[in-house]
């Protein structure tokens, strides 16, 4: 075998194993964070019995889901019904692969990138995998042969594609500034010219709103709006299949937060870090931690918003997407072209 390919394979395998471990842990603990933070917001305790501070609660939940009864109702369209959770879970796990969580550094005599795949079409890869999610939801709802599932799936498909549009257009501004689709270049551009957050605030706000909608989080959680559609597209799912939808939602939140950080908040960049003249590994560690903190902030924002706001109505949601975000996103592109032409960013 080509030693180059062998090296890539080994390196990726190690990174992927590490990454899965981290992502699944973050996802598991996000469920705990969600419950503890919501409890804090709501003036109550939250889960605090399993392990110290309830820290083992996610583990207990995981075990519980494994042992839950799996119901496959006879009225569903079986192949699609079984495939749908996979279709939503797998892309959620893969999307993150092109996001750099730190700078490249020298490790074991190798130049190692703190990112699974450094590809030149990074942004497109993310959008491609992210839009896969809609298939999982639409097919889950349709194959369930249940009216609530169907309504949830239709709502969800319409919502996801509408906000995907706004999200896609808001990113254009970032690409224009960086002149590349590679996420490392985008981060590098921000390190050199300042965070995109500063110059492209409208784009950032559109992106953030769309990210909330894309992850089906309140105030945009209509596809599974419990008080209207019972459980929306996953009404007929139970056990591990149900928890896959759940895990995918949280994985998507993590990815969306990481993307917001990478595109608008300088990625792993820590302003003024080079002044400290830290050794390379230490500096890399600080930057990875900074990245984690930034992502953590957005994750907290997700939770905070969810437990504060009521839910939009369906037509209001569509109006916001098509009649507000979309035109504003187009204007934003104009604004960024102006910035770029004036060489301000």
């Amino acid at each position: 075998m080509d030693p180059d390919i062998a090296r890539v394979l080994v390196e990726s395998a190690v990174k992927i194993a590490l990454f899965f471990f981290i992502l699944l842990t973050v996802v598991a603990y996000m469920t705990l964070v969600e419950r503890r933070v919501s409890a804090w917001i709501q003036d109550r305790q939250g889960p605090n019995r399993v392990g110290p501070l309830g820290l083992l609660q996610p583990l207990a939940d995981g075990i519980k889901f494994l042992f839950k009864e799996e119901v496959t109702p006879p009225h569903v369209y079986r192949p699609v019904y079984l495939l749908a959770p996979m279709l939503i879970f797998v892309p959620a796990l893969v999307t993150f692969s092109v996001i750099p969580i730190g700078p490249a550094l020298e490790l074991f005599g190798q130049r190692v990138r703190l990112q699974i795949a450094d590809v030149d079409n990074g942004v497109l890869v993310i959008l491609a995998f992210a839009s896969m999610g809609v298939y999982g939801i639409a097919l889950a709802g349709w194959s369930s042969s249940n009216k609530y599932s169907l309504m949830g799936a239709l709502r969800s498909s319409a919502q996801l594609i509408s906000y995907e549009l706004a999200m896609g257009l808001s990113i254009v501004g970032v690409l224009m500034a960086a002149g590349s689709l590679r996420l490392n270049d985008i981060v590098q551009h921000q390190i050199e010219h300042g965070w995109n957050l500063i110059w492209q605030l409208p784009g950032f706000l559109i992106f953030l709103t769309a990210a909330f909608a894309e992850t089906n989080r309140l105030p945009f959680d209509l596809p599974e709006a419990e008080t209207e559609l019972v459980a929306g597209y996953h009404t007929e799912y139970s056990g591990m299949r149900f928890s896959m939808f759940y895990m995918a939602e949280y994985a998507n939140m993590v990815t969306a937060s990481a993307l917001a950080v990478t595109l608008y908040c300088g990625g792993y960049h820590v302003p003024g870090l080079h002044l400290l003249r830290l050794p390379e590994p230490a500096a890399a560690l600080v930057q990875v931690l900074a990245f984690g903190l930034k992502v953590g902030f957005f994750l907290f924002l997700y939770v905070w918003v969810r437990w504060t706001l009521p839910r939009f109505r369906y037509d209001q949601l569509m109006n916001l997407g098509w009649k507000v975000l979309l035109p504003v996103a187009v204007l934003h592109i104009l604004w960024v072209s102006f910035l770029v032409l004036m060489n301000w960013t």
Binding site: I5, H75, V119, M176, G179, S180, K323
Partner: protein, 117 residues
């Protein structure tokens, strides 16, 4: 293309992981499948009519519009990456393209394709 190999690898790993979780729970989960478990959920009563009927056309309208405008976004991406090199001329060209689409968008808006009730 070698850059893309890790993504493929991760895809395989994710499928294996998802399969393992599903398989494990099918093995460990103990299905009893009583009659109520297996009936479609419709708030505790038997469904009035089957779910797989024709459904309102509005949702499909959204899908159609999405395809139209997503193509716009797809054209914007390569343009955006080389915008610095294209300069004002590039902006003008794209403005014409988007302008044409915007006319279509306004037409849809006026005709009520974006309205829900």
């Amino acid at each position: 293309m070698i850059d893309y190999v890790p993504i493929g690898l991760q895809l395989v790993a994710a499928v294996v992981l998802a399969g393992a979780l599903l398989g494990l729970s099918t093995w460990l989960g103990n299905p009893r499948n009583s009659r109520t478990d297996l009936s479609p959920y419709e708030c505790g009563v038997d469904p009035i009519e089957p779910a797989g009927k024709r459904y309102t056309v509005r949702f499909y309208m959204v899908a159609m519009l999405f395809i139209l405008f997503d193509i716009e976004a797809a054209f914007l991406y390569p343009w955006a990456t080389i915008f610095r090199d294209l300069g004002p001329r590039g902006l003008f060209e794209m403005a014409v393209f988007i302008g044409v689409l915007l006319v279509g968008f306004l037409y849809c808006w006026r005709r009520g394709a974006l309205d829900w009730d």
